[in-house]
Each structure stands twice: as structure tokens, then as C-alpha cells.
């Protein structure tokens, strides 16, 4: 609006006022449409959560009556889950695998990512593209010989096959870290080199502190991946019930208590709760991590 209004004739002022109002009305209507769309979709995403929670608070009969509100409200399903199955044991087993895998992933992936971002060597780019290429390989192709090797080690059933591979760097984590490391100006490491830092010091004292968000991200991704893992646990440790993870235990529980939906849902709530908590504490890291691997070439 560079033309001041009183220079216009009365007619144009009217017109522009009308146009402005029309535009406002349209923006308002669009706003309503957008927000009702957003809200409807949000309801669809939230509804299963709502249902899981309320069914976990119902008694057995009511859970089969498709009611949307618990009546009477009961908290007995939670103690029942904990007492009928070794739920705490499963949680501990899952936690041990996830936590040790996180330790492994952080130790193993930082050095390769550093070498692929802040060290200059011949063939670096080729190696990086090659590593990206290995991400395309379906896990099934390597699964059988790996299984057989672990069987020869006498590691089946045990949780070692699920933990030990994490102490070797994986393509996805290297990729995520490397993408973050590249965004750290090389002037910092170059300056460090001029000042006589060893490469090890540069990595540990300059890059690692600056790359904390990316390191948290791979830690969280690894933790979630292991918490979620079903297939690995299924083939490596389902033979020994003492080693069962939540995924295996809960599947079994679901199959055996197909009609006791209230207890199954209580168990599901307990299963997903740690991840939801992790998510709320680390949402920013999480969203940025997903984005980093997804769009930035």
C-alpha cells in the first residue's frame, strides 16, 4: 500500500475496502478449513492412544463392550500384568540390550564419521558413497550366515547377537553423524591443527562437544531401534524365556490373552511408555535427527 488512501477516489476506496474484507473473510475461512483438517487428523492420530489407555482401565467384561469410557474405573490391570508375567524381567532384558547397544553405537560411529568429514584423504568420497550404498542392502541377505556364525559361537540363545554388532559402526549412524560433522566449519579443526592438537584431541575436544545433538540423536535412534526390535529377538533369544524382551513377551501375551484386552492394553501402555517419555524429553534432537538424514544431501 504505497498509495495513501485519501489520494484515491471514493469509489476505489470502497472497492479496495471490499476487496480487503473479501480477502480477510477468505483467509478466515481458509483458517477454519485448515484448522478443522488439522484437528480431525490429530483426533485420528490420538484416538488409538485414548482407546488403549481407557481399555487398560476397564474390567474384562467392559473391555468387550466397545465402551468409550471406563465404568467402573479400575487400576487392577497393571498389577495383574506385573504379577502374571515376568514383565519386569522382560523390561530389564530389553533395557540391557538397548543400553549396551547405545554405548556401542556412540563409541563405534564417531571415529568413522570424523574421518569422513574432517580428515582429508584420497578416496574419502568414494568410501562415503560406498557406505551409503550398503544401506540399500536388505538385511535378509546377510542374516543367515550371521545367524549360523553366532550359532557356532554358541551365542544362541543369548542377547549377545543383538548387542555385539552395535560395537561396529553402522552405515545409518555414520551417515547421520557425518552429515552433522560436515556442518561444523573445518576452520575450527584446521586452526586446531595449526595449534598443534593431535587428531584425537581435535575429534574429542572440538568435534564431539559441538556435535552433541547428533550424538544424542544416534543414541536415541539406537535405543528406540533396539526397544522396538522384534525380528532379532525372535530368532536369537526366543528359545530361552529368561532372555525374552518386551517385544517377544508381549506378542506371546497378546496371543494367549486374546480376549483379555484390558490386560493386553495395560501391557502395551507399559511397553510404549518409556519411548513416549524419551520422545518428550528429546523431541528436538529427534525431529532434527530425522530431518538431517532425510533431506540434506
Amino acid at each position: 500500500m504505497t498509495v495513501s488512501t485519501y489520494e484515491m477516489s471514493e469509489e476505489t476506496t470502497k472497492q479496495s475496502k471490499g476487496a480487503l474484507r473479501n480477502k480477510r473473510v477468505r483467509t478466515f475461512l481458509y483458517g477454519i478449513a485448515n484448522h478443522s483438517g488439522l484437528f480431525t487428523l490429530a483426533m485420528m492420530f490420538v484416538f488409538p492412544f485414548y482407546l488403549v489407555i481407557i481399555v487398560s482401565l476397564m474390567n474384562g467384561d467392559q473391555a468387550l463392550m466397545r465402551s468409550l469410557w471406563p465404568n467402573p474405573l479400575t487400576f487392577e490391570n497393571y498389577p495383574e500384568v506385573l504379577s502374571t508375567v515376568p514383565f519386569l524381567q522382560w523390561t530389564w532384558n530389553t533395557f540391557v540390550i538397548a543400553a549396551l547397544s547405545v554405548v556401542g553405537a556412540v563409541i563405534a560411529n564417531v571415529p568413522p564419521a570424523y574421518a569422513l568429514s574432517h580428515l582429508h584423504w584420497k578416496g574419502r568420497q568414494t568410501v562415503f558413497v560406498f557406505i551409503l550404498g550398503t544401506m540399500m542392502l536388505p538385511g535378509q541377505v546377510t542374516m543367515i550366515p550371521i545367524y549360523v556364525t553366532f550359532a557356532k559361537f554358541g551365542w544362541i540363545p543369548s542377547n549377545l547377537p543383538l548387542i555385539v554388532p552395535n560395537f561396529f559402526a553402522g552405515a545409518f549412524s555414520i551417515f547421520l553423524l557425518r552429515q552433522f560433522f560436515v556442518s561444523i566449519p573445518s576452520e575450527l579443526t584446521d586452526a586446531g591443527r595449526v595449534d598443534g592438537c593431535s587428531e584425537w584431541q581435535l575429534m574429542m575436544r572440538i568435534i564431539v562437544p559441538l556435535a552433541k545433538p547428533a550424538i544424542y540423536a544416534i543414541a536415541i535412534f539406537t535405543f528406540i531401534g533396539q526397544w522396538n526390535d522384534f525380528f532379532g529377538a525372535k530368532i536369537y533369544l526366543s528359545a530361552d524365556p529368561d532372555l525374552w524382551t518386551l517385544g517377544i513377551g508381549l506378542t506371546q501375551f497378546g496371543n494367549e490373552h486374546a480376549t483379555n484386552m484390558n490386560t493386553t492394553m495395560a501391557a502395551s501402555v507399559l511397553f510404549m511408555l518409556p519411548l513416549i517419555v524419551v520422545f518428550f524429553f528429546a523431541q528436538k534432537v529427534f525431529v532434527e535427527g530425522v530431518t538431517l538424514t532425510g533431506v540434506k544431501g
Binding site: H35, A42, F45, L51, P111, P112, L137, Q140, P145, I276
Partner: protein
Amino acid sequence: MSLLSGKAVRPSLKRGATAPKPKHGVKTPGFFIFMCMLPWTLGFLLFTAYPMIASFYQSFTRWDMVNPPRWIGLANYNRMFYEDELFWHAFKNTMWISATSIPIRIAFAMFSAWLLTKAGKTRNIYRTVYFLPSMVPVVASTLIFAWLFQPYFGIINMFLQKLHLSKKYDPIMWLDDPNLSKWALIILGLWGIGDTMIIFLAGLLDIDKSLYEAASLEGANAFQQFRYVTLPLMTPVIFFSAVTGVIGSFQYFTQAYIATGLTINGDYTRSMYFYATHIYETAFQQYDMGYAAALSWFLLFITLIATVIMLVTQKRWVHYPNGSMFK
């Protein structure tokens, strides 16, 4: 920056292309580079290179893990293509879910991300809500959805009955209906769209707003803006999720496996029997390792073909504004 700009400390630094020679310490960090890459190199040799060679060899053998592998030439592949009907059944199911779910997932991720860009101040709240289901462990979400889809006690049929789309005494069977079970799995997958959606959202927010202003000055309506501005600029993201989607869908296992266990009729038509399920059954239920290795190599072959086709055709439809990792 300020450390190095201005006075030229070293000419090589100004160019910035090559690393400067360090004053003291390690002269050439060759050994250091080797040590840095070691966790990956060892992992690659132990968990990728060796197993690939081994499984390629095993695919030409008959092997039950008890007796030593016996060379049988191409018999496994012959069995796969000409004798194993379950293989073709699993293959068709996998192709179907791949071809159906990937476009639906991309469209849905795009739509929900697009809605989020319109959310204004409430965007972060909505983003959290949309993202949250993708945090639910697959085992839990499958249990939950098997319950929602339960024909007699499930909530979904209750709503459909209220809308007169389903009958009380002849309900929609969902997971127990061979024609609908895969759709139920697709819907379950859409609930956890969050991580894909976040990538789409980042892509949409990356688009320069002035492009829309320019388009609207040229008289483009909302649809034209989407078609000629948003869509072309989103093609790298679409391409990325198509590639990862194809690779992922060939390995689709857990949801189908757990859902099958929760059906009333045990899915006797094997409508949720996918390629990865076939490998699992062959390898870890029948311990027919040689044949399972052959199956897994065919999976690799198909994945490679699909990826190569996409990489080759991407030049026609994917627009990279700043170059790409695949260039």
C-alpha cells in the same frame, strides 16, 4: 573464520581445499584414518562382506545346519521359480503391498505435512501429536490395531455400524478377510507415518516463500501453485521416501507376522504372508538354510533392480536445486 581470515597464515589454508600440514604430532594421519575407519571396516567385513559371500555360496547348497552343506547347483533357484507356489504367493503379496502402500504413504505424508505448514502458532503441538504414533513399538501398535479391527469387539466396526456401513451379525472381518487384511496393515502403517511426515515437513518448510508470491502474482491458483511449485521442489523428498519405501516393503515382516497370530482363523489363505515371512519360515522354522539363502539373494536382486530403475528414471522427474547425494 576470524582466526584465519585477514593475515595469510599459510597460503594453503586460504584455499581451504587441502588440509594443512600439522606442525607437530602425527605427520601424516594415515594410521589415524585407518584406526578411525576400523570400526566400520571390521563391521563391514564381518557383518556384510563375509555373510554376503557365504550366503551366495549357500544358495547353491542344501543345508539343514546339522549336516554339512551339499552342493546342488541351481536346484534351489529351480525350486523357487518352478516348484514353490508359496514363493510366488509371497512375492505377489509383497509386490501388491509395495505398489499400494508406498504411493498412499507418500501422499498421506505430504498431505499431513502440508496441513502442518498451515498450522501457524499451533504447529509444534500438532507436529508432536502427528509424530507420536511413530514412537509406538511395532509390537504394541499391531496389538492395538488388531483390537481396533476386531470384527465383533473392535471400535472401528462399531463406528461403521453407526454409519450403517457394517452389519452387527455380519461384520467386516478386516484381518480375517483375505481381501481386507492388507488394507488393515496399510492403515496400521499410516498411523505411524510420523517419521516420514517430518521429512516432508522439513522439505515443505525449505521451499522459498517468494516462489509462491511470484506464482500468485502470475495468477496461479492454489492447485497450480501446488502442481508447479510445491510438487517439483518436493521431488527429492518423494524420491528418497520411494527408495527407502521399496527397500523397506520387501522386508516387511513384523506387523504381518504378529497380526497373523492375532487373527481368528489364523489367516489360512496366507493373505498376510510376505516375502520376508517366507524367508523367515524357510530359515528359522524349517532350517532349510540353503533354500532360504537363495530366497534372500533373489530378494537382493529384486531390490537392486527396483533401486536402479528409480535411480535411472529419477533424472526425468526429480529436481535437485543444490545437487544431491545421488548425483
